[in-house]
Symmetry: C2
Subunit: 401 residues, 2 copies
């Protein structure tokens, strides 16, 4: 059971958070978040696969290699990407300043950034901001942190869940920012997850790496992969369950809970895509394998023709089928079936007869499901996406660097 809960990253025992206005964003909105664990936490992370990765991505990857962390410092308003050696120095210095203020090791500080690329961090504001933020860390600060990392997101994103392991309540909570542009220069997906589960780092990383593939890696707003994407989990063990060290029942319960949390958070990010008026759930069923299912789903999710058709509330199955056809997957149009909102609109190689009023009602809704039956195998997968509206062009076309 996943809950919308502003407690987010401070829901689990032993975590504090805060978010303040450090003056990095021109808008004057909150732009600096800190999350801390009272005790050493196992840390797992997944990062952008973009070869043009931002400085904080490199620095935080090294922290994950040490297997433990105690703090996350994230800023919005500046991505610290394509900033060369100065950017690396600034990311390290951000961790150093936070470590000194928090009285922890520098290697225990994850750093994350989102915002304008090609611009260096205003280190005076970062330093003043961290010094002002640390005293405000508190057990109720998650929403302030969630506010400080969002950009063009239209709402903050916080989820929590809890499970029972060895008779102990184990809590998991998360905050995220979606595929909004800052200023708007770069879409970045950031998600920070905290849990008081007691779990070995290597197992936590394995769980996260697997879960990412079917959750955050299955969403697309515009097909553009950011230089700054990052999902981080801190697990501090304060729930007091016996340490999870193998693939046993407790691991599976934890895995399932983390998976559901990530899945719902990924959906929230897709639904709040820039300019989005529709949230699309694209189910690819009976594919030959997972690769094919994902390729077909992503091809539909990223097709400008499909996206504009949904914006226009037009059940244009031709564009959907066309996108599957050029996706590169094994398929035969004669055996492929297309449904929108559960109504079959294409099968047996032909458009199907359907109730036009019922389908128009479905197309006018915000959440719409597209089901593709490839009839080529037995693998299913789901991709989440949104439509392409005038507002997307406005947000991304009217800004001048």
């Amino acid at each position: 059971m996943i809950n919308e809960n502003k407690a987010g990253v401070t829901f689990a025992k032993g975590f504090k958070a805060t978010g303040i206005k450090a003056g990095i964003k021109k808008s004057g909105n909150a732009d600096l978040a800190i999350i801390t664990s009272d005790t050493e936490a196992a840390v797992a992370g997944t990062f952008t696969q973009n070869k043009v990765a931002a400085a904080p991505v490199y620095v935080s990857k090294d922290v994950v290699k040490t297997k433990t962390a105690k703090a996350i410092v994230a800023n919005s308003g500046c991505a610290n990407a394509c900033t060369g050696q100065q950017g690396m120095d600034d990311a390290h210095k951000t961790a150093q300043i936070a470590a000194a203020e928090l009285n922890i090791n520098k290697d225990d500080v994850i750093v994350a950034s989102t915002g304008v690329i090609g611009v260096t961090l205003p280190m005076d504001k970062i330093e003043t901001g961290i010094k002002a933020a640390v005293p405000t860390l508190n057990n109720d600060g998650s929403d302030a942190a969630a506010n400080a990392i969002i950009t063009t997101d239209t709402y903050t994103k916080s989820l929590t869940t809890s499970i029972t392991l060895d008779g102990k309540e184990v809590r998991i909570g998360a905050i995220a920012k979606g595929a909004g542009m800052i200023q708007p220069n770069m879409a970045t997906m950031l998600c920070f997850i905290t849990t008081d589960a007691n779990i070995e780092q290597v197992r936590l990383q394995t769980a996260l790496s697997e879960i990412i593939e079917k959750t955050f890696n299955m969403i697309s707003v515009d097909g553009d992969m950011s230089t700054n994407d990052m999902v981080i989990v801190l697990a501090n063990g304060q729930a007091g369950n016996n340490k999870i060290i193998e693939n046993d029942e407790n691991y599976q319960i934890f895995y399932q809970a983390l998976s559901e949390l990530c899945c719902q958070m990924a959906q929230k990010v897709a639904a709040d895509g820039e300019g989005a008026t529709k949230f699309l759930t694209i189910n690819i069923n009976n594919a030959r394998n997972f690769r094919d299912a994902k390729l077909a789903g992503m091809s539909i999710a990223n097709s400008p023709l499909v996206k504009t058709a949904f914006f226009g509330q037009d059940p244009n199955w031709g564009r959907i089928l066309c996108a599957v056809g050029y996706s590169g997957v094994d398929m035969n149009p004669e055996n492929t079936e297309v449904k929108i909102g559960g109504i079959t609109i294409y099968s047996n190689g032909l458009g199907a007869a359907f109730d036009k009023n019922a389908l128009q009602d479905i197309m006018s809704e915000h959440d719409i499901a597209i089901d593709i039956n490839l009839n080529m195998g037995s693998t299913n997968a789901t991709v989440w996406s949104c439509d392409l509206s005038y507002e997307y062009v406005k947000i991304n076309g009217e800004y001048h660097t």
Copy 2:
């Protein structure tokens, strides 16, 4: 030397063409084109790679297998795609009707369609149309044919060129329709080329297949590959040159002329993309190999963030570099260089200092060049594309099937 010339497909000796209003398009505009060669012509063709290919694609592929053809019948207003056995029957019947009227073999008739998918051809209108069109075939009918195949294109596309082989003038001409939507349901690129060159079919097909890879396969308007794309060349030998049967100097002269014609036609199609306000020439230099160069160029060409930035006239190099970074090619951001309109804006891992006024002047122009130096090898390639505007969303979002 390639010329804008309405003579198009009737520029070469022994070809006739026509275009008429058959009533297939709701708009009442011309929608049926016929091109004929007075004598048997070698035929070469390349077709959509979409697994959801339209009926005329299957029928015309079989004609190309026979190596000769004498006529092309193309309609707009209906794609005859996703129409099952009925669609196949209709495509064959179209060829049969034309063959009977022209007094030629049915296997000598190429058929092509573009328009709404999932709708069967109005065969009564096709039949009446062909019967009315055949008597109007004439040596000056290319522009009428060009008009009958366009859809949301803003202008007809006709090019011609000529070369000298064995002291004889050899002419090549072409008409094309661009990536416009009909009604608008599916982007389709059609290009018909005629030449009086005397050339063996296998060599003509080899030339076309190679040339396509660096011309028509290097353009993108929105990344959506149509079910109906087709490029056809008819070579009737009436120029009287000695038959080209091997890779000799004459072949190379012909190849070069055909290549330049296709290259300029491909650029015209990209420049007239739906809603386009900018024509982008994306040069990828010093890639490891052609695959990498094309991947990087296509990643930039298809990035909604890059396309909207150019619509907004913003020289946003971060989005360009980001698109190269996630394209999957071998690259190192530290060694990559980005230029817009010849002005270096990113190098040595950092944004470069540049003359803002000069760059703003470049961004306000219609034709803009983006140069990427990957510094990874010695292969260069060029991709042509356009921007993403409100008008694109309007054209594709406001139509209801």
